[in-house]
């Protein structure tokens, strides 16, 4: 009823400052979220649990690993470091998320950033002063325990350092589900490969 009184008002306010637009967008976002949050989360969890997803991930991972191995072989290196493989696995995982989640986008973006940084000069890393953990600081930082833990969680989930609490929890949920799928797929893959490998190892002199 009230809204009917202000249709024109809204239109006049529509071309208002970006603040209001952002606020309205946020409000509409949260409105949608409250309506569908549980459904969304359950859906996202379910999508990481299906076998099909796992298979897709495994096949993609195998291909990526092959490419990595080829590249390293061409470069002269033979041993592909575990880190490379882990990064590859993470990237493939993020790719299978289809960019719907923040952490997946951050994972895919870090690679670009890393490749860019390689070309740049390495900055001095000694500029960071180690903070002396005084008692006062400890007391100060101990007060919002939940907030501290949320910050730690934000650091763990890639690309979620400055994210609001409910979004952080959403991202963490999706990230945990994705990680579980990744672990499962990699384990089965490792087993399969290990099963196949020793045969060749045995044949080697």
């Amino acid at each position: 009823m009230v809204d009917s009184l202000f249709p024109s008002i809204e239109t006049t306010v529509d071309d208002a400052s970006p603040e209001s637009r952002r606020k309205r967008r946020r409000i509409s976002e949260t409105a949608k979220e409250t309506a569908e949050s549980s459904e969304i989360n359950q859906e996202s969890l379910k999508r990481w649990r299906t076998n099909r997803v796992q298979q897709i991930y495994a096949s993609k991972l195998v291909e990526a690993l092959r490419r990595v191995r080829q590249r390293s072989n061409d470069g002269g290196k033979i041993t592909s470091a575990a880190r490379e493989i882990r990064d590859t696995a993470d990237r493939v995982l993020a790719a299978s998320a289809r960019g719907t989640t923040r952490w997946s986008r951050a994972v895919l973006a870090t690679r670009v950033r890393a490749s860019l940084k390689k070309h740049k000069k390495a900055k001095l890393t000694g500029a960071r002063k180690p903070r002396k953990d005084t008692a006062a600081e400890r007391k100060r930082s101990k007060l919002p325990a939940v907030e501290r833990k949320l910050k730690i969680l934000g650091r763990l989930v890639p690309g979620c350092r400055k994210v609001t609490v409910p979004n952080l929890l959403d991202e963490a949920t999706d990230y945990i589900a994705a990680l579980e799928m990744q672990v499962r797929a990699m384990e089965s893959l490792a087993e399969l490969l290990a099963a196949a490998a020793p045969r060749s190892m045995l044949t080697r002199p």
Binding site: T12, A35, L156, T173, A177, A190, L193, P198
Partner: protein, 490 residues
């Protein structure tokens, strides 16, 4: 505060009013000046005059009755005003004069446009010349004479009066006082086109005569609007005005104009939405209805209906929902209650999962060195079969899993990893998909490396140790045959 306003300006207005009334000739000049006043100009004076004329007949009876009541009962009106006694006197004087004028002839109402406008303009003009409080005095006459939607406004402003004017509960005078304030401020406040635009659709339903007075409520003087805003804020979630929608719209518009138009409007609209929801079914459980833009939340029974607490409650519930989902996801979180402990568990779980991934990537790297190319299709198909096949014996799965760790080259580095991962692997095995892992381990590699690395698994659980010892002790060919058997089974 508003009492003071009324108190301060006792003397001058009457004299001015008398002056103005005695000099209708000057009214024409005043009329022009009043017309040139931006508000009036924007209001399109002919419109005003039309409205005034239109409503005069309606108002006359009301006006007369009000006048008679006022004139006849000076003391009650006096008592109505806690601090506005002087005001009452002045008003009565003015009204008395007006009453004479009005009673003598409907001429005043039937008077030509100019006359009406002039009178009102004169009254408006005086405020322009005099300090703001004086406008309060002069306005009532104009309000009386040219008050188009008098009845409607009376109803509405009586509600206003009960809210914002503490001592004035009487409908007659408070309405006038409200009008006094509002219309008095009409001239002073500068109305922007946006406000006009805002005002017009709002008050379209309330009839066009409302517009001149409609502008005034939004353009309340600082203190009144502030007061109204504070009052409304304090009571926004309680039962606000039981009046019709225009009055909440009035207050809301007042607030909106005072604050920034965009932000304030949004907030007020949200409040309004919540208010109305609260009004309609304040005791219902909260269904978060998804409106177009705003979250409409119902206050639950026995809970605070303040806008802040409502928003906080929504926020807390959102976070709680997500924590519950995480609780289902993270194993072992069911017993834990409280956000901090659960967050601890979640952090630990995420860290362990990441460590597992790193561990497995190391494993894969070692495998990568040997063979990867020709096995891809076979592996993929096997993986598919593994995932879809039936469940395996848990014990054998455990054994196989422990055996699988033998394949690592850099065992020392993996000591801690293995132990920790084994712990974690067991739990995901139990909780997630033990069958898949067990199936994955059916393809046993050759067990030549078992005995080398058996010492690593001292941190395993009892059953693991037994299985490992069992496996380690057993002959290789036995295991090979076993593995071959398992392969055949697959």
């Amino acid at each position: 505060m508003d009492n003071e306003l009324f108190m301060n300006t006792e003397l001058p207005p009457p004299s001015e009013m008398a002056m103005h009334f005695e000099q209708p000739s000057s009214s024409s000049a005043m009329l022009n000046w009043g017309l040139m006043d931006p508000n009036l100009a924007r209001n399109s004076p002919p419109q005003d005059c039309f409205m005034w004329e239109k409503s005069t007949e309606q108002q006359q009876s009301i006006f007369d009755s009000a006048l008679s009541s006022l004139v006849s009962s000076p003391t009650p009106s006096n008592s109505n005003f806690s601090g506005g006694g002087g005001d009452g006197f002045i008003i009565r004087e003015l009204i008395g004069k007006l009453g004479n004028i009005g009673n003598t002839s409907g001429d005043i109402y039937g008077a030509p446009m100019n006359g009406n406008v002039s009178r009102s303009a004169s009254c408006y003009a005086t405020p322009m010349s005099s300090p703001p409080p004086m406008m309060n005095r002069t306005a009532p006459l104009t309000e009386f004479s040219g008050d188009p939607g008098f009845a409607e406004r009376a109803a509405k402003f009586s509600c206003f009066g009960s809210r914002s004017f503490n001592g004035r509960t009487n409908s007659g005078i408070p309405v006038n006082n409200g009008k006094i304030v509002n219309s008095g401020k009409l001239t002073r406040v500068s109305s922007t086109p946006a406000l006009k635009a805002l005002a017009s659709p709002e008050f379209a339903s309330a009839a066009r005569p409302m517009i001149p007075a409609g502008d005034s409520p939004p353009k309340l003087p600082g203190e009144f609007s502030r007061k109204r805003k504070s009052v409304s804020k304090g009571k926004s979630k309680d039962n606000p005005l039981p009046a019709a929608s225009p009055s909440p719209s009035f207050s809301k518009t007042a607030e909106r104009k005072e604050v920034s138009e965009e932000k304030g409007g949004k907030r007020r609209r949200e409040d309004e939405g919540e208010e109305e929801e609260g009004n309609k079914g304040g005791n219902d459980t909260k269904p978060p209805e998804p409106p177009k833009d705003y979250i409409h939340v119902r206050a639950r029974r026995g809970q605070a209906t303040d806008s802040h607490s409502l928003a906080e409650r929504v926020r807390r519930e959102k976070i709680g929902e997500r924590m519950k989902l995480l609780q289902d996801l993270v194993p072992g979180c069911n017993k834990v209650t409280g956000k901090a402990l659960m967050l601890d568990e979640i952090i630990n779980y995420v860290q362990s999962l990441q460590r597992q991934v790193e561990f497995l990537s190391m494993k894969l790297s070692s495998v990568n060195d040997t063979r990867l190319e020709f096995n891809v299709d076979a592996l993929v198909s096997k993986d598919a079969m593994i995932s879809s096949s039936g469940s395996r014996v848990h014990e054998s799965g455990l054994q196989l899993e422990s055996l699988s760790h033998h394949n690592y080259n850099n065992n020392s580095q993996l000591n801690t990893n293995v132990s920790s991962n084994n712990m974690m692997l067991h739990s995901p095995m139990k909780s997630l998909e033990p069958s898949a892992l067990a199936r994955g381990f059916t393809h046993l590699p050759t067990l030549t490396q078992f005995t080398d690395t058996i010492s690593q698994y001292q941190m395993f659980s009892e059953e693991d140790l037994q299985s490992i010892v069992g496996m380690g002790v057993a002959h290789n060919p036995n295991h090979e045959s076993q593995s071959q058997n398992m392969k055949i089974e697959l």
